[in-house]
Subunit: 201 residues, 2 copies
């Protein structure tokens, strides 16, 4: 298992990983728009021609980076729900835990939300990805079975979670993963009764 790779567990191209890495660091250094292709290949020690073997342009690279990271975030929770497979319950914190630990593992990437001139679409697609996970992979039960629109409920809790995540990142991961997860759990307990996880295995 290669811990240096970016994103999900899929087989990935080494060179492309390095180009993505370079993009991340250069965005932090000078902002997305100021980054040139020369910068990227120079930073990653490749020839400019090599870049075009792998990507069409900077946007193509940026999209691949964002896609792979958010895809990895989804995969970190578990396989998407497949109708017909059994649903089983896990303890409350397990799913959030895997999201949190994924973000922490790739904090080098997720720190990009601290920058204004950053990866295009990051600020919109990151929370959307969390919402997608909540929608497709989690099943909630509200306290005392208060009847609510579950779509709204998931929207509400997903963005609440996103807010916590964002703050955690912005404050430089001051709290440990464990402490942070515990806070998330405690907050969840104020309005979520049970927490199921749709998944295979």
């Amino acid at each position: 298992m290669n811990d240096e790779q970016i994103g999900s567990s899929k087989q990935r191209n080494r060179t492309e990983e390095h180009l993505k890495l370079a993009l991340i660091e250069l965005i932090k250094e000078k902002g997305y728009h100021a980054v040139t292709i020369k910068d990227i290949v120079s930073h990653a020690s490749y020839n400019r021609s090599t870049f075009y073997i792998h990507y069409r342009d900077k946007i193509d690279l940026a999209e691949d980076l964002l896609d792979s990271m958010l895809e990895g975030l989804e995969d970190s929770v578990g396989k998407p729900y497949v109708p017909g497979q059994k649903i089983y319950t896990v303890n409350l914190h397990a799913p959030s835990l895997s999201i949190v630990s994924y973000i922490y593992k790739y904090r080098n990437f997720f720190e990009l939300i601290n920058y204004t001139d950053t990866l295009p679409e990051l600020h919109t697609r990151f929370p959307q990805a969390i919402l997608k996970i909540y929608k497709e992979q989690f099943v909630f039960e509200t306290i005392n079975d208060i009847p609510v629109n579950m779509d709204y409920f998931k929207l509400y809790t997903a963005y609440g979670f996103y807010g916590l995540i964002q703050n955690w990142i912005k404050t430089g991961f001051k709290e440990s993963q464990e402490v942070f997860i515990q806070e998330v759990i405690n907050l969840s307990k104020t309005h979520i009764h049970s927490f199921e996880y749709k998944g295979s295995k």
Copy 2:
């Protein structure tokens, strides 16, 4: 300028940089002795054969890593003193500043001093490298020109500086570079009167 490279400003091999990077991360993860060559190449996404193209064994890689980093530390201060070239005075903090900023820039590597089962020789050669810089590149004047053995004086101040550095690293770089440098300067002022820098240009 490639910021991702490890160590000094010399031209370096891309693959070797990645192997070094992998070694650093694996030492932190499982300790130097537990790291295998398979681990390294797997982590850096190379074939095992590739490793032997560049290095004889793990020790060879470890030595290259340490050598390149300490060499880079020396180079960061300036070129070694060449007899006949003019000596000029700089403000007190400039030389320490470059050492500090180098260490901070490559903190990923220098954090290795926090680990017990870490790079062989790191704990001895790191302070020695600082001492070497003090000996070869700096000229001190003690307060009120108190007569002292300058070799001892440099040994004393170099290891004092090393102690501060070590503590700074161990506490996770809590203080900013600027704050830390200022503390070093203030402590230096208690016993150093002037501070010259042997160098070219």
